[in-house]
């Protein structure tokens, strides 16, 4: 099964990170993430103490919004083009397909965000310790964001105005990740990282099943 799934995963990863067929690739969320980090100091002023106190939260909000950006191209185009039907005929379970897609989505947006985080940290004058916590937090939290994103993409695929609805649905579901991610940067907030990881794991465990059921229900 894993062997047969490999070409599917490679295709997912290529489409999501390089972008084609109206899929923007990994660059778009990355630039968006940096743009938010760049805009924030303009909006609140260059006071380093204020920036350092609020910066980590901004990074998390930016990461969340960057994860929402590619939602409408995660599942919908392949559903529309008949790929999921063809995979189903070949005995692939929707759960395995979505797991591959979550992994590909995470690699194409989570890892670029972690690479861009030091730059954002510079713009928001976070110190090295805070940056380290942000990076660990992103490492633990972005898989959860990817899982929630793919589930919602599967749920809203085929709906009219699905992409707008997807964004709206994602925000409340990702709140726990945001709270624990940003909270881990407060003094004595290290416990937040453990809760962040727990939220991610729950999302990862549920997502393939919820998304798979959504795709099957969409066929009726």
């Amino acid at each position: 099964m894993i062997g047969r799934l490999w070409p599917v995963f490679v295709r997912d990863l290529t489409l999501l990170s390089r972008g084609a067929q109206g899929r923007g690739g990994a660059v778009l969320p990355l630039l968006f993430f940096l743009a938010v980090a760049m805009l924030f100091p303009f909006a609140v002023g260059p006071d380093a103490r204020l920036l350092a106190r609020t910066g980590a939260g901004v990074i998390w909000v930016a990461a969340l919004l960057a994860a929402i950006l590619p939602l409408d191209r995660l599942v919908e185009p392949d559903l529309e083009a008949g790929f999921f039907d063809q995979w189903a005929l070949r005995g692939f379970s929707e759960e395995a397909l979505l797991l591959s897609r979550i992994l590909a989505h995470w690699i194409s947006f989570g890892i670029p965000l972690m690479i861009a985080a030091p730059l954002s940290a510079g713009l928001l004058s976070l110190d090295a310790g805070q940056l380290l916590t942000v990076e660990i937090g992103l490492l633990l939290g972005t898989p959860g964001l990817a899982a929630i994103g793919v589930t919602i993409a599967a749920l809203t695929a085929g709906l009219r105005a699905g992409s707008a609805l997807g964004g709206l649905l994602a925000i409340p579901l990702t709140v726990p990740l945001l709270i624990f991610g940003a909270g881990s940067l407060q003094p004595d907030g290290e416990g937040g990282l453990a809760l962040l990881a727990a939220c991610s794991l729950v999302a990862l465990a549920v997502a393939p099943f919820a998304g798979g059921a959504a795709i099957r229900a969409g066929r009726e």
Partner: protein, 191 residues
């Protein structure tokens, strides 16, 4: 090719509030071609999806021995990829070893799929199914968009598949010129 068999027992098909088909049974075995005929909207495509296991029948059961291949109006080929790579993706998944039956596509292999014409796309879909090595073919309007020559060639390929021990179910409102085809008028089962 291994023996294959697709049996539908007493199928009913419902779309929305309407029951389209009721009490339909059919059996297709190695070497047989069944033509599901009928006017637009009678439920041919829904029936194909039921037979493929993608749609749950409102009533009845499906039994199947052997792998399935399906082509419908959705191509399942990446538009930005060249035809060779797009077909190659499915060949990798199917672990197909034989050469792609060419369907006149040899000159088009380096053309991105989104630049292909309607008829060329249809031929690409048939090439995908021919390369899949699945014994049972479900073809939904396989001749739509094909010119006379390629319509003929497609039917030759379908016939050849059956000679090799495959089974084919074709949903089409167009008449077929294959001799051994058994026609099933869906209108007779309309609810």
């Amino acid at each position: 090719m291994q023996d294959c068999r697709l049996v539908a027992n007493d199928i009913a098909c419902r779309r929305g509030d309407r029951i389209l088909i009721r009490g339909l049974s059919l059996t297709v075995e190695s070497g047989q071609i069944v033509h599901l005929a009928g006017p637009n909207g009678i439920g041919k495509s829904s029936l194909i999806r039921i037979l493929a296991g993608l749609l749950r029948p409102y009533a009845g059961t499906i039994e199947r021995i052997g792998a399935l291949a399906l082509t419908d109006e959705r191509l399942a080929l990446d538009g930005h990829q060249t035809l060779e790579n797009a077909l190659g993706f499915w060949r990798k998944i199917d672990r197909a070893s034989g050469s792609v039956a060419d369907f006149g596509l040899a000159d088009l292999l380096d053309v991105p799929v989104r630049f292909l014409s309607t008829g060329q796309r249809k031929r690409a879909a048939l090439a995908r199914i021919a390369a899949s090595e699945a014994p049972i073919w479900l073809l939904d309007e396989p001749l739509n968009g094909l010119d006379q020559h390629w319509s003929c060639m497609a039917q030759v390929a379908i016939n050849a598949h059956c000679n090799a021990g495959g089974a084919v179910i074709i949903a089409s409102h167009q008449p077929l010129s294959i001799e051994r085809v058994q026609t099933l008028q869906i209108l007779d089962y309309a609810a």
